[in-house]
Symmetry: C5
Subunit: 354 residues, 5 copies
């Protein structure tokens, strides 16, 4: 149900291009703005109460403004105005069904990513994060609070690593790296799920739900692919160094993110191939089971149908059946039947059906 | 039937190149011409009664002439003459089985798209729309009235958005964007259909029609793909900005359409993969059902065939069968049979066939 | 048989490169040469009796010489000498198993195509047509008379369209266009065949020949693909306008042929995908049929085997079976059996096997 | 067994790069060197007894030295020294599991091909042939005598064709063309094998070996693909004419070889697709057979189980069964049974199981 | 279990970029440093006791320092400091789940490869080896002692081949060549495994484990692919000769490694295709087996069910059954039954079920 609604809202058909309309479901979320301002020597961390406060930061420092709550479109329009963002950029920020992409404008770089995590129901959630990289600032836009950026925050606060001594481009790198890092934990869970399936199928625990679960897993992988694969092109473009906003010494770092991304992508493709072949395994298992059922039937029928026929013969009421009068007939017949029974068992044994 | 006829009419084999011959089926449709003429300050909207009226618009304004009724080839030839369109352009306008394409001429740009919608029978209809973009005009050609351009009309009338303050290239963008926007609603219906199939297959509601329906769905997806995929190349070419008719500031907007198109294409490919795997699911379901049938047969046969054999034994007419005389034989036999019955049940229970 | 022979003759292994050896089967075909010579003002149409007559045409006109009968290798060598064709060109003309290709020489352009049509046995025939385009002439070489060029002939005769007012390059276009146009009718027949298969499979009319027919259809599509697909590259190269023999104003027309070709190719690919999925449908249909057979067996066996067992019980000859003496036993037993019968029917009804 | 040994010997792990070590199995083969020396006016053909004789040819003629017997590594090293070949070239010449490749050195061109033929056991044999093209010489290296070059030898001897009037590059072309020509006969045999399979499967002659044979055929095609496909890139590179050793007028001829190669490759891909679909056909045939088996069982069981039940009824020993006393009961019962029998037959007829 | 742990440790999520953290499992491994220092005239081989000793080598010689024990991160950081390696390089050296890659820095080249071998449990182990190539040195980093470089060591010691007379770039080549050479032995074992499967399946030895084993084999091939395929791009980049650290005369040798790599890759792809088709074979074998089971059942049932019916007829207790009184009835009946039996056998013989 949720899925259908989402698709419908992907685009408000017929809307004016550049309209800033939030397309998500978290309509009554509180606006939460957080700001970091730092250089090599100092750092300030603030929770902003008002959008206007976003514009008070000095030059010469790197400013990171993290806006949570895309439903507050007016605040976002106000920020867009101040930083002179193109109307289409604002539209894309609040339209949460964007495909990951990079748009290069004269004074800034606009990047849309997907943050992936498993929610409490073990479902993959894909949340859109938009970045605007200016000469001395990075803006990040998220639907709601809660993200994977805590390690970056900590590094800014404690001055660990290089983040405080480098520019806004390095901050962008650090944030994107945090997101890509998190992909590893998502695909790890995926990998474990696939292994569980394998174990189940191989141990013969195949209930009918399994094909539904495989289908669901396929769809999950498709979704993850869709969130991650476009990113390769994005980072590859950043790494090429055409853009004046990204300094040469930062490019090495983007190359590192690119390597991680290729690693994630390869894993996804391997999982994809494995899940397709799981389906084959499953079919084989079903066929094997049917084979087993058929063998039981065939063995039972092949043994007892001829014996029943013999019993039927001597149940006939003909007046003259010579065997009937003979005193040991009954016992001889039992002997014959037991011999037939054993012969049958040998036959099936030799055919490896038993 | 309709399908076959359409293919046959795709091309009148042996016709002279540049012949303006309408290949559709709406032979007696009325000609309907609608014109918008606007600039930043004003707009005129007219329903034209005669083709000649198309040529009266002043310079300095953007003119949109929307011609409905491709069967009126003489009117179209008259327009082609006035705007100095190449004979092959006119041929392509009235040949409704064109593949989406873009042709760049010296003074104008010729674009053919497919407008997709579901008709009342839940069938996908693909209607051809041709655009001619000149320096100050856009011509659109449709088979019949009724389109997805109402939002654009409204924006021109009310001066909302940027359309009135930009040139003819922006108008072209707005119209193409309206068509691409509508693709989202088509693929959404497709997506819902696939989900319904999944639900049906997983719940075991598999009648024999299902494979026919899946085949139909596959074909629908193929048709949609065919209408949408060539568009990517078209818009990508427009976005590259080689053409003097499209101004740099409009290119950003075409890039936006391109993003939407990639999103639609990705969805189509995901649906395609899902439907191929649905077929697998269906096969598995059939095999599972057969397994179940076989189990019932095997259980019934395996239990009762041996019991019947025993009953047959004591139905024999041998004169000397010692058990027959014994008074409690019958009851003992019942006991034995019930024990066998229960043992069998246990056996099948342990094999998880029950 | 014919097929095997053809492949064997594809190349006379070990022959000298440039040897003009006819590889087809129409060894005793009469040589038939037809010539058109025209400009804007006039046209001459002749049936030539001798090869030497081919060389008498004046400058300033477009000359089309159509040679039928590739077995007359000496005539072809004579023509090659006059028009200074490369020996490999002559070899390719008479080697009828060429792949469609274009070879650019200094003074002329050499193009090999395949003309496709269904013969009277509903088999696809692929006949090779070679074109040589010089500055003022077009030579066409065919195995035998009978082609798809009648519409072009008519246009030359009657001066319809542009053909008389344009150069030899336009004539080449017109002839190639005629061939490509004819592809539409071939793939239309293919499409109808596939639809007939679908109808058959869906209606359950599946005899064992169907898989053979599908295999044949697959092979037909492979052959058509092979004839048509290389053409795309050929025309795409012509359309790029590197060659001085093709004038800029004619290029627009080649672009048109290219569009048609893409359309044909797309249809072929769609048919190909449909036929692969037909095979799946067929497998599903077989499985469904087996399911149905199994159900009938299971129902019959499950109902009557237990009843037969009961009858067997009271056929036993034990001296003391209390029920046997009771007067209404027989009727009660019938009652029990009918109840069991009905219960079974209900059970199978609920399982939707009936 | 042979196969395993071969793979193991592919590369002597840990050997020094440039070591000239023969990796084939023909260890005790006699060295056989054959030389042709010719120009337009004359030709000399010699069987050389000693490697040193290879170096006595004059300038101004084309020299072809054909060395058979790769186990004679010292002779080959001696030749390499004289012609100043790179050590890696010598290593590649005697390592018979090279992939087809071209290496361009300053003064010469090194090409490795695979010669394919069917041996007497109907197995495809792939023998490596190495070519070194210098300004006035061609060296060819083969494992053992016996090749497909006889037609070239004959042309040199008799001065037929262009070979005597062109340079060493044309000789290289002629030799490679001879190899590619021979591919046609190999793939023709492959094609015939596939057709035989088809005929067998369609006529129902499916023993269990068929899947093994199909697997073998698949592997043969893979091997042929592997030998032929890299060649396309090689010849395509030669045809591009960057190399000063290949003259412009010879390039046309390499283009011709390229065309043949594409034709061979296409056939291989078609065969590959056909063989994959053969497997499908085979599966369908098996399923159809099982269907038939099931039908026989179902018909027999469905007809006789109910009849046996009825017979069982009147075999019961109840004291009071009214029908038993009635004189015509037996005959009436027969009537009833025959009617049931016929009804069943009708039912199965209508279901098209008979 | 091990596999899961490994994936989890791929990246310490949230760690600072450039942190040198060992991600493997060999935490308590001893540090072992081995050094070679040589030029044309001499060579020194030392086991170093302390990291500081690494920095004592003179100029004018080639120095190879082989560091084993990635858990000693401080030693590695110390080396990184001395050779001025980028922090990300150090991070990649100790992060053992890198994808094979090449990173070009100003003064050095950083290459990560995977060394593949089968361990004692017949499992493929993939161990990471990192190379740093400077102007006069090569550093290699391995998790633990034991590698495939013995042949290179021997060549340095004994001055065999070119290694002593060439630069550090040639040493890098020799080491990488040793690794690639070893791939051949790995894929050979893979190939043998696949052949064993084939033999098993074709001989009908199909237990249920086979599908699990095939799945495992598929995964092994995926892992090998993943280790080997990225290498092609790496070596292809080295071979292009953009880098000043690799001299032109060494490039020929890298081209040779590239050829070997292509050969390995092709083999892997062939194995991959073969294993996919093995699965098909397996399915066919299962179906064939089921067919056989069904035939036995059908034959037994079809022969004895009608006979049992006939016996049932004459077991009925009707007072008037004329045949019962006739003296030879019993024998005649036996005759009839034997005839029926033989007729059935003939019927099944003709159907080729026997």
């Amino acid at each position: 149900m949720a899925k259908k609604r989402k698709l419908r809202s992907k685009k408000h058909i017929g809307q004016i291009p550049g309209s800033v309309i939030y397309t998500g479901e978290k309509q009554d979320h509180k606006l939460f703005i957080e700001a970091f301002d730092y250089n090599k020597g100092m750092h300030i961390e603030k929770e902003l109460l008002d959008v206007e406060e976003c514009f008070n930061f000095e030059h010469g420092t790197v400013t990171w403004i993290n806006i949570n709550g895309l439903n507050h479109v007016h605040a976002i329009e106000r920020i867009g105005e101040h930083y002179e963002l193109h109307p289409l950029v604002l539209e894309d920020i609040v339209n949460i069904s964007q495909r990951p992409k990079i748009d290069e404008y004269d004074d800034y770089l606009f990047v849309v990513l997907k943050m992936l995590y498993y929610d409490t129901n073990e479902k993959i959630v894909s949340e859109q994060v938009s970045f605007v990289l200016g000469p001395e600032y990075v803006l990040t836009f998220q639907e709601s609070e809660g993200d994977v950026f805590d390690s970056v925050r900590e590094r800014i606060r404690q001055g660990k690593g290089r983040v405080r001594s480098m520019g806004a481009d390095y901050l962008l790198y650090a944030l994107m790296d945090a997101i890509v890092d998190h992909y590893f934990s998502v695909i790890e869970i995926l990998g474990n799920k696939i292994e569980d399936f394998e174990t189940n199928i191989f141990s013969g625990n195949v209930d009918e739900d399994i094909s539904q679960n495989i289908q669901n897993l396929k769809r999950e992988i498709l979704r993850v692919r869709r969130a991650i694969f476009p990113l390769r092109e994005i980072i590859s473009r950043m790494e090429k160094g055409d853009n004046s906003l990204i300094e040469p010494k930062t490019i090495t770092y983007f190359r590192d993110v690119y390597d991680h991304l290729i690693q994630v992508s390869e894993n996804i493709d391997i999982y994809r191939e494995m899940i397709w072949s799981l389906m084959d395994m499953y079919m084989t298992t079903i066929s094997n089971k049917m084979n087993e059922v058929m063998k039981v039937l065939t063995i039972m029928a092949s043994i007892f149908i001829p014996l029943t026929f013999i019993a039927g013969i001597y149940g006939m009421n003909f007046e003259y059946i010579p065997e009937l009068q003979y005193r040991y007939s009954y016992f001889i017949l039992w002997g014959v039947m037991i011999v037939m029974f054993i012969a049958m068992l040998f036959y099936f044994k030799r055919k490896k059906w038993l």
